[in-house]
């Protein structure tokens, strides 16, 4: 069947901000976050990078909400939920990191390998 194609990246309207910009931005942000998660050795940094990833998602959601479903605010609602949950998650994360720091005097992820094989 014939798919109605909308040029997301339009050289003419390139200067005016379009959905593509948001999508690309969020993608970049996501990748940065992912890199952090994989590369950083400090638990707190990793936690922050996860936040980055979640925020990338939020950007996506909001952008799509504006361009795809402008009528109802699904995206925004979703984003708000994400923010809330993320907050809870971070709180919990920090709590655990503190607890484990008490226990091991370290927040370096490489020190946590009691459990393996």
């Amino acid at each position: 069947m014939q798919i109605p194609v909308v040029k997301l990246i339009d050289p003419v309207t390139m200067l005016s901000i379009g959905p593509a910009h948001y999508v690309i931005l969020s993608a970049v942000l996501f990748c940065i976050g992912l890199f952090g998660v994989l590369a950083k050795r400090n638990a707190i940094m990793v936690l922050i990078c996860i936040e980055l990833m979640l925020n990338a998602v939020n950007i996506n959601l909001v952008a799509f909400s504006k361009y795809v479903t402008p009528a109802d605010f699904i995206g925004q609602i979703f984003a708000i939920f994400v923010i809330t949950v993320a907050a809870a998650e971070v709180g919990l994360g920090l709590a655990i990191i503190i607890a484990i720091y008490r226990n091991k005097v370290s927040v370096n992820l490489d020190d946590f390998d009691l459990l393996k094989w």
Binding site: I3, P4, V5, V6, L8, P19, L34, V37, L38, A39, R41, V46, V68, L109, D110, F112, D113, L114, L115, K116, W117
Partner: protein, 640 residues
Amino acid sequence: MVEYAMNHAWLIPLLPTLAFVAIIFLTRPWPLLSALIAVGAMLTSCFFATFTAIGVFTSPELTEKPLVYAVNWFNMPGMEINVGILLDPVSAMMMFMVTLVGSLIFIYAIGYMQDDPGYSVFFSYVSLFAAFMLLLVASSSLVEMFVGWEGVGLCSYLLIGFYQHKISAREAAKKAFITCRVADFGLLLGMLLLFWNFGTLDFAALAEKIPHFQQYNVSAATLALIAFLVFCGPIGKSGQFPLHVWLPDAMEGPTPVSALIHAATMVVAGVYLVARVMFLFHEVPSVMQLVAVTGGFTALFAATIAVTQREIKRILAYSTISQIGYMMLALGVGSLTAGMFHLWTHAFFKALLFLGAGSVLVALHHKADVWEMGGLLKKMPITGWTFLVGCIAIAGIPPFAGFWSKDEILLATLESGHYVLFAMAAFTAFLTAFYMFRLFFLAFTGAENPANHPKESPWVMTVPLIFLAIFSLVGGWVGTPWANVWSEWIFFGHPHHGEPNYMVMIGSVVLAGLGIYLAYYFYCADREKVKVRELARRYQGIYTLLYNKYYIDEIYLWLNHTLVDGAAKIFYLFDIYVVDGIIVNGVAAITGLFGEGLRVTATGRLQNYALVFFLGVLAVFVVLAFTSPLLAGPIWGGVR
């Protein structure tokens, strides 16, 4: 009475069976009672057998048309096996002979087995043997006969190994069973082929069908093969060359056993089988030739060995082999009459000889070497004289039984034109006379051996000897060339009247006489036996060869230990190292290794886990992207 006996012929095998059961389960603790039960059962069967025989011999049509009482044993579509009793002169004669000789030997055994720990067991075994033997004789179908056939084999195994604590006895028993087993393999195949081609194993039916085997589209070659395979059985059972090796060793058993099983009855079962299925052999002359040659050769071959043996029972054993060779020869040249006749006479005098030997052994406390005996005739007259009768009978001096039957055989051989075989047979007759009298002179005449203190055996042992001696004398008179009652009854095809051939008679007598004289000359005339020693020294090679029975046992032993056991070892090692070791355990080991290998990927570093996770996502996406047709479309697809 006769009617009754014929209608209840099935009792004849049954009674000894009952005796066996009774002894094993009830009367084992009371030896004498057990013995009496066994003897009683045997005598009763003998009684029945006698009347049956009379009945059979008074109704001539039975020779052509045997009387069969059969019941279904088990059946399934395409296979119906009956068991029953088949009465015709041959089987009647056999039954009579077996029960008669059996009874005498049982009685003898009462004395012989005195104060033996296994007294009752012995009588239970021999009763069982008698049962199986009679079943074999009376059976109406090949399967049933096979049951009896293996059964007697079993009993001979048990009785040869009766003194199980002796290594030699144990080995002899095993040897006997396995040798016969090898032979029975052939017989079994023959039976299968028969069944396959003719769809039945009843003698009567087979006798109907086989003469017109072409109708059942069976080629002559197949029939020959069948006949040959069937003949394998007798070769083993009747100790024909090359499977004769077990019979001499079988002498490890108690002497009554040797007399009953390994002289009079079981070993001639092979002859009986061939006679039974004569209708089969008759169709394939080639195999008949084979039978004749095997018989003739065995006769001569065994006789030569017997000449040099020292143990009294071994000599008799080889003579048995040789005599059975005669019977085979007779059957081979097509004279059922002569074969069965010799079987009949041989039963008596060979039993007599063995029992005599037995009584000697008892007297000498089982010192078996004839060279250490001597002068026994004075000390044990009854044994000695009866033994002499036996020797004369087997040597073939008229009017003793052996003469008539042997004469029949020689005659038949000659008439059928097998001159070479005739010559061999004749020479065998000479040898027979020689070694039998060698035995006699060595044992019973000459100087006494001071080491021995022999005394005559009790009457339970001597009375049977006397009876047997009588039979060895008169047993042959039923078949004299002038009044040949025998051939009126027992024949295949048409009655065979051998014209009295005086050349043959005289010839054989002369040969026998010569043999006896030589024996006298070497072993009786010169006290010191110097001549014979001289002779042995001169022909050292031949002597040792004969003395060691042509080294055949050694060859078999080598085959058994090197080839069979070697092969077994190889199979076993292959099994544990290849099938089990490499394949089974190998697979298991590999699985385990995979487990270990994958295990170490769990490093415990959560970022490695994250990496794997992410790579997984990519991988899945890539796979999916390439398997799905979507890459064609634009990245974003359609967006509103």
